[in-house]
Amino acid sequence: MYLYDAVDQRLVDERVAQFRDQTRRFLAGELSEDNFRPLRLQNGLYIQRFAPMLRVAIPYGLLASRQLRALAHIARKWDRGYGHFSTRQNIQFNWVKLEDVPDILAHLASVQMHAIQTSGNCIRNTTTDHLAGVAPDEIVDPLVWCELIRQWSTFHPEFAYLPRKFKIAVSGAENDRAAIQVHDIGLQALRGANGETGFRVLVGGGLGRTPVIGTAIREFLPWPHLLSYLDAILRVYNRHGRRDNKYKARIKILVRELTPEVFRAQVDAEWAHLKDGPSTLTAAEVGRITQRFTRPQYQKLEALSVHYTQALARERGFANWAGRNVHPHKVPGYAAVTLSLKKTGVPPGDATADQMDAVADLADRYSFGELRVSHEQNLILSDVKQSDLHALWQEAKALGLATPNIGLITNIIACPGGDFCSLANAKSIPVAEAIQRRFDDLDYQHDIGELDLNISGCMNSCGHHHVGHIGILGVDKQGAEFYQISIGGAQGNAAALGKVIGPSFAQDEVPDVIEKLIQTYLARRDSEAERFIDVVRRIGIAPFKEHVYGNADQKRENRNGQLAAA
């Protein structure tokens, strides 16, 4: 956990005072709605369907137990007793009152948290791998770099009024768990020939209505140049990104219109002036930030706990959970655990205040008082002793947080959709629930194996449907809510955008369609090892399409036949 120093704290406190005054002036009529909007957005405050929504930053997904308790307190005192963890390592409160927000921000500041730049056309919360620092496949621990980027981006005076929002993600592992290929800037931390840290820099990725996979513009940026190079990219974007059309304002459009080669040349030309300037990072500063992170004091343990292996052999339920929700750790004898926020019937990513308090207790007792928020909208206890896993599982089960579905079809990523969001074409929460119910049988889920299913309520793609193995997108068909389905998308190293299988469906048809996709997969896979996405890649979308629409047409014919007969 990064601990604020006096300056970090002072800046956050000053931000609260600033926003308190801005809110006061707005409520007194001294600041118009148009002039207040960008200010409140840069403090995470949207005006939504029913009430203002407050988005709180969980920088790079890291959270201390006392911070989670503060979130629980906010949910109870100022909201309706729950919060929604988003795909961007933020938490959203859907029912706050505008006039309470300064007090909420003050409460957050008291636990070294904030809502700074969680919305608006500025540099947003930097996200990373939820297993940062503990994953066995890690090359470089991204946390220190994320904090350096957090400080650089916080109140950056030049980039507060960009053409559009700007999202940076960092991965330091062999397997990308931070979706760096679909961010405005994706940074892959790696090691150079002499073991020195550097970054592969991708730009122009993004989802939304024009999904694009990012392009590498620099293969190895030595770490001292990280901030000056980011400054150069942002300056080119700030000056030349389109401002005439908000749908064309993201950096991906600039990169595409210029071509990546020309964009890179412009960045290099700008960087030539900034390189080796005062923003150049020093070993002293990197060391200082590193020191400010508390790190778990691990015990020396056996690589495999006997207690753990015995429990695995003894209890099938525990083994199922461990198989899905427990992840390897780079320190012998430890494991990372996902607490699933994807129990059937609960909106994906939602947690109640009581659950938050209980998870904070679990973190204190089992994981050094820390946890992480994953972009799959789950909570992670990253440093659990293997010998504690069984006890933790029992406690998590009692809290409804032990659904053994990580990586499986019911671990649905979904945006809040039409139930909360004013931009939605369609609801996403009831669709997620209907699918979870259809596939509730655990054996069936496990038989289907790894499958990412993502739902967005409109083409803004907050639920990342483009990169779901199965993606569901809410569309508007003459005022009715319909769902377009795509398959073949993927996140991670082999990131790919899904292909739409055909005309869209009514809400009650969706579970059947998903079932048909699954049937096609099960019939065509060559072994259990071949995942859904592998089969789509091997045989293409045509067989899936045939099965879905062949039958759908038949169904329509049947229905028409019945109607004709009636």
Binding site: V7, R10, L11, E14, R15, Q18, Q22, E30, L31, N35, P38, L39, N121, Q151, W152, T154, F155, H156, P157, E158, F159, A160, Y161, L162, L227, R235, N238, R239, R243, H273, G277, P278, S279, L281, T282, A284, E285, R288
Partner: protein, 172 residues
């Protein structure tokens, strides 16, 4: 009338703005007095403007205009202004830093157009020292915006060293 804030104080404005007439024709140049002209006007009339006997000269840039275009003229100027069509159009922040940090502009750098209190802090960090505040805003209240924050992480015109370098310098 917009209120002029200069060096964090309310000031009186001696500058007259000059642009093409609505029919596109060039305006007549006042013989004396301080005049602030648009970039196209400067490009069309620099000779005539420089030939005056009295009064100072300034050029204003729009968000889309590259400060490199006046880099060679800076010696003849006493004021550079950057126009913000809307306060949410942030290009002028980069323009300002380029003028100060790359082209070495030391004179008055004025923010004009849609200028409000809540942007003053960032604007001043990017090198603006003068601001034509929108009508209807409380100028005294606006002055307090310069102290919204007492520290900053990044390098900027006003504090060229980022916090991490100043910390080290202070500790030594």
């Amino acid at each position: 009338m917009a209120t002029l804030i200069k060096n964090a104080k309310i000031a009186t404005d001696s500058w007259q703005r000059l642009d093409r007439a609505t029919d596109g024709s060039l305006p007549s140049v006042p013989a004396t007095g301080d005049v602030l002209v648009s970039l196209p006007l400067w490009q069309a009339m620099a000779g005539e403007l420089l030939g005056r006997n009295g009064g100072r000269l300034g050029v204003w840039l729009d968000g889309s205009e590259d400060p490199a275009q006046i880099a060679d003229s800076l010696e003849a100027l006493s004021l550079v202004a950057i126009h913000f069509a809307q306060f949410t159009d942030g290009r002028g922040y980069s323009t300002a830093r380029l003028l100060r940090e790359r082209h070495g502009w030391k004179g008055e750098l004025r923010a004009i157009g849609d200028i409000q209190r809540d942007q003053l802090f960032y604007l001043s960090r990017c090198g603006f020292d003068a601001f034509e505040l929108n009508d209807g805003l409380d100028p005294q209240g606006a002055l307090s915006a310069f102290t919204d924050f007492t520290e900053a992480y990044q390098t900027s015109v006003e504090r060229p060293l980022p916090l991490f370098r100043r910390r080290v310098a202070e500790a030594v």
